[in-house]
Amino acid sequence: MIYRKGVLFSAGLILLSLTLLSLSFLLFTTSMESSSDTARMAVADRINDEARSIENVYSGILSRHVNVTINRNNISFAETLPEGASENFFTAISRFETFAENNSEFSVALNTSLLQNRMPLTVMPNGITYTHENNFGGNETRIANASSVTAYTLNITMNKTGAINLRWLTLNEDAGGVRFSVEVKGLTGTSKYDSRVLSKTSISELQLETGGTQPQIFIGSSDDAGMLRVVNGNEDAMLLNITLSVGANKAVSVEFQKESINITSEEYNITRASAISIR
């Protein structure tokens, strides 16, 4: 009888000990997982900080060459065409790229070749692209994929003395098209202004008669509705300010091309890929 009681007592103790051991093990593993999650979150935050700081530097470089401002659904791009200081832009971009890649505690890959070649900006969420066709520093700016643009407003200052005239070489007006307004002025003389509603799908061509090589503006295209192209073949740079109005219901932002910044922690297998945004 005493022997049987001892066995039951021992079995009970063993079961309780096993329960206690299991709970301790569960607590230990949960604790380990929790501390591992905390470490991952800390690393993710550091990667996020690094990406934000790199984006901020690129935004700073960009804004010194193309000034982007967003006011509700109106986005303005102001630049010199062609950009005479484009070498400063290329140098700053490539030097910071090297600096960030060499000095990061993570694996940083910056893809800036497209940025340097055409400096494409994308208006989100509409997907309108603002690019430089013949390299940044070239003489052509193009706004494409622009069917959602409702109005263009251009303010152009030519580095010219004397009269500047506006002459339509091709004109396709359409009441259901895009409102196009342009004001051009030189260093002297009065400014010239024109405003019309033009077809998005048939091309209209406006020439700025400056006396030298004539800058041209193209609006609308059969294969790229709402497109706008400004070509300044003139040896004198123009100050170009383009404001486009879009019918967006969501907040508008302007981004460099997608996935220009990739930061990876190989130890924690965390990757952050992002575009540089201007909101």
Partner: protein, 141 residues
Amino acid sequence: MNSLYGSKGFVFSVDIAIGLVIVASILAMSSVYILSSEKSGISEIALRKTGSDIIAVMDYEGVLGTYNKTAIEGNLSSLIPFNMNMSMVINKYDTNGDFLDRLQINADLKKNYYSGRWMLAAFAGKVASNFYIVEYKVGFR
């Protein structure tokens, strides 16, 4: 049957006592674990987020790029919550990536801190003049 060691009551009592001790231990351990993990988690997140936001604001305002100890310390003291401390080291480089100088902002925090890094550039007109790496530490007072 009358033996002290053979009584059912004694075994039952010992069994109950051990059970109670085990349950009490588990409850105590769980409470301590849950309370301590919640407290430290929230504190750490608060430190991380506050430090990161402060350094971002100082960059956006252009204060860090001045590389001026007085201006940076003044701006930092206006941003940091009263229950936190923050120190930073700003490493200055030229645009070729060569190290130039180092600036210590506030006394270096030695323990119980969260650390982070921030890169920035200073400009002279359209030209990038210097690159900086800020290594900051933030902790509770």
